[in-house]
Amino acid sequence: MSEPIVTIRNLTKFFPGIKALDNVHLNIREGQVHALIGENGAGKSTLVKILTGVYFPTGGEITMEGKPIHFKNALDSQDAGIVAIHQEASMFLELSVAENIFMGHHLRNERTKKINWKKMKEETEKLLKRLELSISPDTLVKNLSVAQRHMVEIAKALSLNAKVVIMDEPTSALTSREVEDLYRIVRQLKSEGKAIIFISHKFEEIFEICDYFTVLRDGQYINEGYLKDVTTDDIVKMMIGRSIEHMYPQRTPSSGKEVLKVEHLSQLGAFSDISFSLHEGEILGFFGLVGAGRSEVVRTIFGIDRKSGGEVYLDGSLFNPRHPSDAMARGIALVPEDRQQQGVILEMSISDNITLPLLDSLCTRGFTNRKKEKEVARNFGEKMEIKAAGYEVDADTLSGGNQQKVVLAKWIASGPRILILDEPTKGIDVATKAAVHEFVAQAAKDGLCVILVSSELPEILGMSDKVAVMHEGELTALFDRSELDSEKIMRCALGEYKEIVNG
């Protein structure tokens, strides 16, 4: 085994009231893809932020190539050769690919200090060629796809002569073909002797691309080793300290009377001719690839977007929402996909977030009843097992999984009859996922109708009574629980096969 390029020993990081990292070890080696595994809140992000100079450690030591290092800021760590591929957040959308790569270290004429655009373009072309990418250096980044933006970030890391490249959930927004491209580049970086830290929640991905792993749990170092020596089950056990026997709750499906009926619903440019019905106590899985139009359908039912054709019936009568408040008044709740932008108000406390849809009922003579508000928040917060210092802290102090729980608590508190969940488990850890599934099953048992929009096939298979499949704005299949077949569903989602012929 080669000597590690970066060694972390007994690393500790305290935040006020929280021990984010406690005695963490990490050995990063050249030419190795190292999976950093742990649930949300296990300390992965904190560890990365310390490595990239954003946070300072409270204790412990980090050595790079044998020498102890103390980064004062992000630039220090970059200069040392540690580069994180952030999500899009770190790009300049209005500037060209070449300039995104060279921002902060523009190539200049030595004497006149004049920026040498020609040389920057040539260098960019070389980098892109090395990654076998067909992107022009002049293209504005805003005109690139998410995947291409990722590749540009990687090119930038190369231009900085990175020795350690950190990738945090790099595939979360990519299509399967784009993921293949990313794998190819990761393998290439590896063969060039770069050390790669790969953070992901997807096990297939980890086993496909990574060599070595380190597992963290609750800020503590749990284990490390070669992935070829372990199984998914072993890793799950390390992550949660127990093995999850049944990822999906056992349910006995029972369906009552029809509540929601959608007929030939269309929205110009987004989806067309969508028909399905939903009964009490039923879970309808909505499957499709990213961009298939599923979110648009549920947004239309919820009154955010306007339909261009077709009808929605609620309890047998025509329902035409003009605004989400119409839908909410009729007992429809939508938990949106992008919880940070659409679901949680980060600057508000947990308690205020939960009671937001209920404010009307919590008001006496136009003033909110703070005591009652707190009671309701605590009640639902405990039901969802939200881990927080208190219900008065701001939502932005929570981990992603706990934020999701706040959103769910918020909508359940409003007592809906139809619950629409758009990608409720995207980017959250195994244990939170299980809690969400448990919660959805309970909701259905209580007689709620649930529409579960998900891109994860196992989740769809494990949870749904009925499955609707969409491809490029069209409904390609509607399956009953008895006919569920993963291959068939996938083929319908890819548009290779149609169960329903529209017309």
């Binding site: 970059q78 300039e99 998410v146």
Partner: protein, 334 residues
């Protein structure tokens, strides 16, 4: 022309704001020219360019600030103070060389801009609040300096007030001043690190810091640059209009911002270019010159200007949204 060529031309018009502005300019010039054939005469074009020279200088100053995702509302007040000081200097010491008067204007602008910049960059006060405050303060300084009086044409030297019209190589000094500012700004914004770092700060301040851009320095710098351009414009203003009054350039921030927005500068920062800003100023100049020719009362000028700016903003938004949609559908297809 085959279809693909038309398509790529259309793409260029949407992508390059400058191209669409040129086309729009041509479109409005045709009826004006038909209505009044002398509109595009050499004399009138010369007058038009003289009219927009000061606006171009000021709009470029405003451009730097908007590019950094800020705004400078103190435009008119800095012009007034610098213009008043220039006029009073010329009155009190008629022998002072013109370039000293211009340097005084630049220095005044730099100091006033530095105060704005310090409040924004180091005091963390939002640009709109800072410059709303200094807008009044600087205007107040002007009244204090002049004790409420004017400097009129016959109190200034002929040399000073005829300077803007003095011709070099057939082009007036005023136009030369604007050309120099345009050229220097273009070089600065395109070929220096600091220039590019304004784009970075305006486009994504967090990301800019990650690659080592000094945010405070850039925010301070853009206000000094805008101050310099406003101060310089103030000296030229007094010479060109042959008077320095306390109320001069009131409301000029509207024109400066309008030229930027018309020129395709992103109001949220991070995008825009000098040629667009100059074209934006030119467009406003044509509009102001053409309306009287079209027998439209000057009362309508402000109204039409406001409308044009609003339409430009709406077009910007719509084009952006359509581009986003196109991008999404491309992703779907791939």
């Amino acid at each position: 022309m085959d279809k693909s060529k038309i398509k790529s031309l259309g793409k260029m018009i949407i992508d390059r704001r400058e191209a669409s502005l040129v086309i729009l300019l041509l479109v409005i010039l045709i009826p004006i020219q038909i209505r009044s054939p002398q509109f595009l005469s050499i004399t009138n074009i010369d007058r038009l360019l003289n009219d927009i020279s000061i606006l171009s200088i000021v709009a470029i100053g405003e451009f730097f600030v908007i590019l950094s995702n800020g705004i400078d509302l103190s435009v008119g007040s800095v012009i007034a103070f610098s213009g008043m000081a220039s006029g009073m200097l010329n009155e009190a010491y008629p022998g002072t060389p013109i370039f000293i008067i211009l340097l005084l204007g630049i220095a005044i602008g730099a100091v006033m801009g530095a105060v704005n910049g310090a409040l924004v960059a180091f005091g963390k006060i939002p640009p709109i609040i800072t410059t709303l405050g200094t807008m009044s303060i600087y205007r107040g300084f002007t009244f204090v300096l002049s004790k409420g009086t004017w400097v009129t044409a016959h109190e200034m030297t002929t040399k000073f007030i005829s300077f803007p019209r003095t011709r070099f190589l057939g082009i007036s000094a005023l136009i030369w001043m604007a050309l120099i500012i345009i050229a220097l700004s273009y070089y600065f914004i395109r070929f220096t690190r600091s220039g590019r770092e304004i784009y970075a700060i305006g486009g994504n301040a967090t990301a800019a810091q990650f690659v080592g851009v000094n945010e405070k320095k850039i925010r301070f710098l853009v206000f000094i640059l805008s101050g310099i351009s406003f101060g310089f414009a103030g000296s030229l203003w007094t010479a060109r209009y042959a008077s320095a009054v306390n109320e001069m350039a009131t409301g000029f921030e509207m024109q400066a911002v309008a030229a930027c927005v018309l020129g395709g500068v992103n109001f949220a920062g991070g995008a825009g270019a000098i040629p667009g800003v100059v074209l934006g100023a030119l467009f406003l100049g044509v509009l102001n010159n053409a309306l009287p020719v079209m027998y439209l009362s000057t009362f309508y000028q402000v109204l039409v200007q406001g409308l044009v700016v609003l339409i430009a903003l709406i077009i910007n938004t719509v084009v952006d949204q359509r581009k986003m949609k196109k991008l999404l559908s491309q992703r779907r297809a791939s």
